[in-house]
């Protein structure tokens, strides 16, 4: 019996194709020579050392890798680094301002919106974008539009409480 799945992939193997990519991350510009297969997530983590953005599935299903591209939330595991060229990239490391943590970060601490903390950077990036999208009008809306971010520890009610607190406090446009 042969391993069929492996055979199929033999012909598609690639030699290394590289290109120079310029990335604007958290207000800083980086120029990198990258294997064209490198995702934005891996470029951030492995090349720039910005490991706050997490890899939970690498398949676009868990939301742990959520970052902002030009202010909109995207899954960095489904975005090639080259695709992010010329766009403004914000990661969790770029969310904390000169005056300390973002209101959403503070609310997550106050409401215990996390346990192990692994999904938290993605949750917070989603939550900040969700408010900019005008999707924090009710608990139902928050739950629905936060459902792309899995929290296996099950902190969901506290995540909703944290977002509700910031949204009702009018802090939704802070840092945006």
């Amino acid at each position: 019996m042969r391993d069929v799945a492996s055979e199929r992939d033999v012909d598609s193997r690639s030699t290394v194709n590289e290109r120079v990519v310029t990335l604007d991350v958290n207000g800083r510009t980086y120029t990198l020579r990258l294997d064209t297969r490198v995702t934005l997530l891996d470029a951030l983590r492995d090349r720039l050392g910005l490991v706050g953005t997490k890899k939970g599935c690498d398949q676009g299903a868990c939301g742990a890798c959520t970052v902002h591209l030009d202010g909109r939330r995207v899954l960095s595991c489904l975005t090639l680094a080259a695709q992010a060229e010329g766009r403004e990239i914000t990661t969790i490391e770029g969310l904390t301002g000169a005056d300390g943590p973002h209101p959403v970060q503070r609310a997550f601490m106050e409401h215990d919106g996390f346990q192990c903390g692994f999904c938290t950077p993605g949750q917070i990036m989603s939550a900040v974008a969700l408010m900019a999208e005008g999707r924090a009008g009710s608990d139902e809306e928050i739950r629905e539009y936060m459902s792309g971010n899995i929290c296996r520890c099950g902190a969901y009610p506290n995540i909703v409480a944290a977002i509700r607190a910031v949204a009702s406090g009018g802090g939704h446009d802070a840092h945006l």
Binding site: M1, A5, L50, G52, E93, M109, F118, C151, A155, P157
Partner: protein
């Protein structure tokens, strides 16, 4: 009735001390570590479930760009097997031979300069197999069975005779699916050798066990191995063992003389680090018409892999959940060609409790007795296995307070009687418990000359709040403000800790911290015993207490002095003390050690046209003993509840019945509860400090999950009149 009293500091809902690092992305998880010169590993896994490898084809992969080496069973280093633990024998060593026992077994390990190169090259590794027919069906008569593998089968009275003569009997069969732990953090290992010394960053809930396993694998002393894990991206049991991929990464690093880093893929998380095994349970209940249980006969068969162990005594809780004179419990495991099962949040009890609490609900309708009342009639304040009183069991308060908060009295007992528009509304409840568990544990406490304290142990914080609650406890014991105390963990060089598992760590580590702090205070008192300049001179260490950074005579805050003054006067930079805890002996203390208890009340909405089930609200009333931190403890309960919702409605690891391949091994296909699946969850803590241990705590990591699934299926019955005995509930069963 009493709710747990909050003493100052302890019990307060203090925000996590590691919160600032977690919300800013600064908390380093095992996958976040890198070292210069590291190479990247990728696993190649078998595509058959049983048989042997005839030949490995690795040339193409080995010549692929950037590849450093390709390891298979033909060139792998022979390694030893790690130590057995309370969870069974150590997992089998990787790449030992040509034998395949499950689909997704590691058959090669590719090491390359970059992750992309390793991943691409791994696709070029091929295997020729001689395939055998895999055993995959739990009830396949050819499967070898282990009987009573944990020596926990129980028998008292004569269950068979009591069932024969019972006024009412119920015989039911219950099925529970394979569930996969799926912590969000992909498991990662980074192995760095320096001569014969090994440093490993590893996703683990038990660094001491990983250290021991690596030492035995490579034949080096434990003191030459250091396992680091300051943060864990969740575990739910998956991190309790030293898995083959951990050994493999260290092996590759040793053979290539390079640091090697491995991050599992999400599909590999389904095959490499355990899962909750599927099971079938047969339960017979004999009961009097007045609701008094007379017989319980609970048997289970659960799935096991060919070459590994799993602690999963499904029926064991039935031996002591209720007062009942005639009980028999029997557990068996069937060896199949599946990836190894392992503990997953509330192992065994999640499944066994589903059967028992479903049966009691069914009987409540048969007998016309309210489900809460039926449980009250079978309550026991003593452990029926040994006749000893429980060290703490406030389940009666759980029922009473939970029912009141929920509004249980509003329930119309008639099934299918409550509606809200088109939705059928159902109320259901279940009892819950998670048994006591502890292992020996150590901690070291230090007070520095500046009056700050540092307490540490080789424990892990998997999201439970260990960093926070142990800092709180240390601060209380030493009489220091919380901001003066740091608790550190996640390093196997620190004093040995037990696993973060079995809801045992908070109790065992808390007692070790308590002991270390007491000993430290005694060291201070000893230091000034003959010191004429000290107000504490000549005072017995038993007669002091601590507050505001000072040690003083009990009840007499003026007669004492500060840690800072004592250390300064004696020219000592710091004092340290090591403390330990061991599980108490029930006979010695005359108490049967109790785990946490709870009562769960659930409202569901069922769409009668679609079979859709939505959980509308949940009330969990919990006896967790003394609660060290109301905020983190509540999070444990809501997290467990979310896991229970997943178990009841969503989670099912599907194995292809012909090939043994897991057919839904991604987060797109294996469904877990997301935010929109979870309503507001009400949690209330009741009871009092446990009498069995010095700190009075009980672990609350698992009791939150137990009872949720049966409370949901019981509510579904109340809503629809349909009794579900198989999890997860699927739409078709309600149409």
């Amino acid at each position: 009735m009493s709710t747990v009293e909050s003493r100052p500091l302890i019990g307060e809902g203090i925000s996590r001390v590691d919160g600032p690092r977690k919300v800013t992305g600064a908390a380093p998880y095992p996958m976040d570590f890198s070292v210069p010169g590291q190479a990247y590993g990728t696993l190649v896994q078998s595509t058959i479930a049983a048989g042997r490898i005839v030949r490995m084809h690795t040339d193409e992969a080995a010549h692929s760009p950037g590849v450093v080496t390709v390891l298979t069973h033909e060139n792998a280093l022979e390694v030893g097997t790690g130590p057995a633990s309370v969870l069974g024998a150590s997992p089998p060593a990787p790449l030992r031979n040509d034998r395949i026992v499950h689909h997704g077994q590691h058959i090669a390990f590719v090491v390359a300069e970059t992750p992309e190169q390793a991943t691409a090259a791994a696709r070029l590794v091929r295997a020729d197999y001689e395939a055998a027919e895999p055993l995959l069906d739990l009830q396949d008569p050819r499967a070898e069975h282990l009987h009573d593998p944990w020596g926990m089968d129980h028998s008292r009275g004569d269950a068979a005779a009591a069932l024969e003569s019972a006024e009412v009997t119920l015989h039911s069969t219950y099925l529970t699916a394979d569930n996969t732990n799926n912590p969000l953090g992909l498991f990662a290992t980074l192995a760095v050798w320096d001569g014969d010394t090994l440093t490993v960053h590893d996703t683990s809930q038990w660094p001491s066990m990983v250290r021991a396993s690596l030492a035995m694998a490579f034949g080096i002393p434990e003191s030459s191995v250091r396992v680091l894990v300051p943060y864990v991206g969740g575990g739910f049991g998956a991190g309790l063992r030293a898995w083959p991929h951990v050994i493999l990464t260290a092996m590759a690093a040793r053979m290539t003389k390079r640091p090697v880093k491995l991050v599992l893929t999400r599909p590999q998380m389904f095959t490499s680090i355990g899962h909750r095994p599927s099971g079938v349970q047969w339960l017979s209940v004999g009961i009097r018409r007045d609701g008094e249980l007379v017989a319980l006969d609970h048997r289970s068969l659960s799935s096991l892999s060919m070459e590994d162990n799993d602690f999963e005594p499904f029926s064991s809780g039935t031996a002591f959940a209720y007062q009942c004179p005639n009980v028999i419990t029997r557990d068996e495991q069937a060896k199949l060609n599946i990836a190894v099962p392992t503990s997953m949040r509330a192992p065994a009890e999640a499944q066994g409790n589903f059967a028992l609490e479903s049966a009691l609900d069914e009987l409540s309708y048969t007998l016309g007795i309210d489900p809460v009342e039926l449980r009250l009639r079978n309550h026991t304040d003593v452990d029926p296995r040994n006749g000893l009183p429980w060290s703490g069991k406030a389940i009666l308060e759980c029922y009473e307070i939970g029912a009141r908060r929920f509004g249980w009295s509003d329930r119309n007992p008639e099934p299918r009687s409550m509606r809200d528009g088109n939705w059928l509304v159902g109320y259901g409840m279940a009892s819950a418990m998670f048994p006591y568990f502890a292992q020996p544990c150590m901690a070291e406490a230090t007070v520095n000359r500046d009056g700050s304290a540092f307490v540490r142990s080789a424990a892990t914080d998997i999201g439970t709040g260990t960093y926070t609650v142990m800092a709180q406890l240390s601060a209380e014991e030493l009489g220091l403000p919380l901001e003066k105390v740091r608790f550190d963990l996640g390093d196997s060089d620190m004093p040995d800790s037990m696993m973060a598992g079995g809801s045992g760590l908070t109790g065992a580590l808390g007692n070790a911290v308590h002991d270390a702090c007491r000993r430290l205070v005694r060291s201070f008192v000893d230091l000034v015993r003959d010191d004429a300049d000290s107000p504490l001179m000549g005072i017995s260490p038993h007669d002091v207490e601590c507050s505001d950074g000072r040690i003083h005579l009990m009840g007499c805050p003026d007669r004492g002095e500060s840690y800072v003054d004592i250390l300064a006067r004696h020219g000592t930079p710091q004092l340290s003390a090591t403390g330990s805890s061991t599980p108490p002996d029930a006979k010695e203390i005359g108490l049967s050690l109790a785990g946490a208890y709870g009562a769960k009340f659930v409202e569901v909405r069922v769409d009668p046209d679609l079979g859709l089930v939505r959980v509308a609200r949940v009330v969990s009333a919990i006896d967790g003993g003394r609660i060290l931190n109301e905020k983190t403890a509540r999070s444990q309960i809501i997290g467990g509840t979310v896991g229970g919702i997943g178990m009841a409605l969503l989670e099912d690891t599907v194995t292809d019945p012909r090939t043994g391949r897991i057919a839904n091994g991604t987060f797109a296909d294996y469904l877990v509860a997301v935010n929109a699946d979870v309503p507001e969850l009400d949690v209330v803590f009741v009871g009092e400090p446990d009498r069995g241990t010095p700190t009075g705590t009980k672990g609350v990591g698992e009791v939150g999950l137990v009872g949720i699934a049966p409370a949901i299926t019981n509510a579904v019955y109340h809503a629809t009149g349909k009794r579900i005995r198989s999890l997860p509930i699927t739409l078709d069963t309600l149409l």
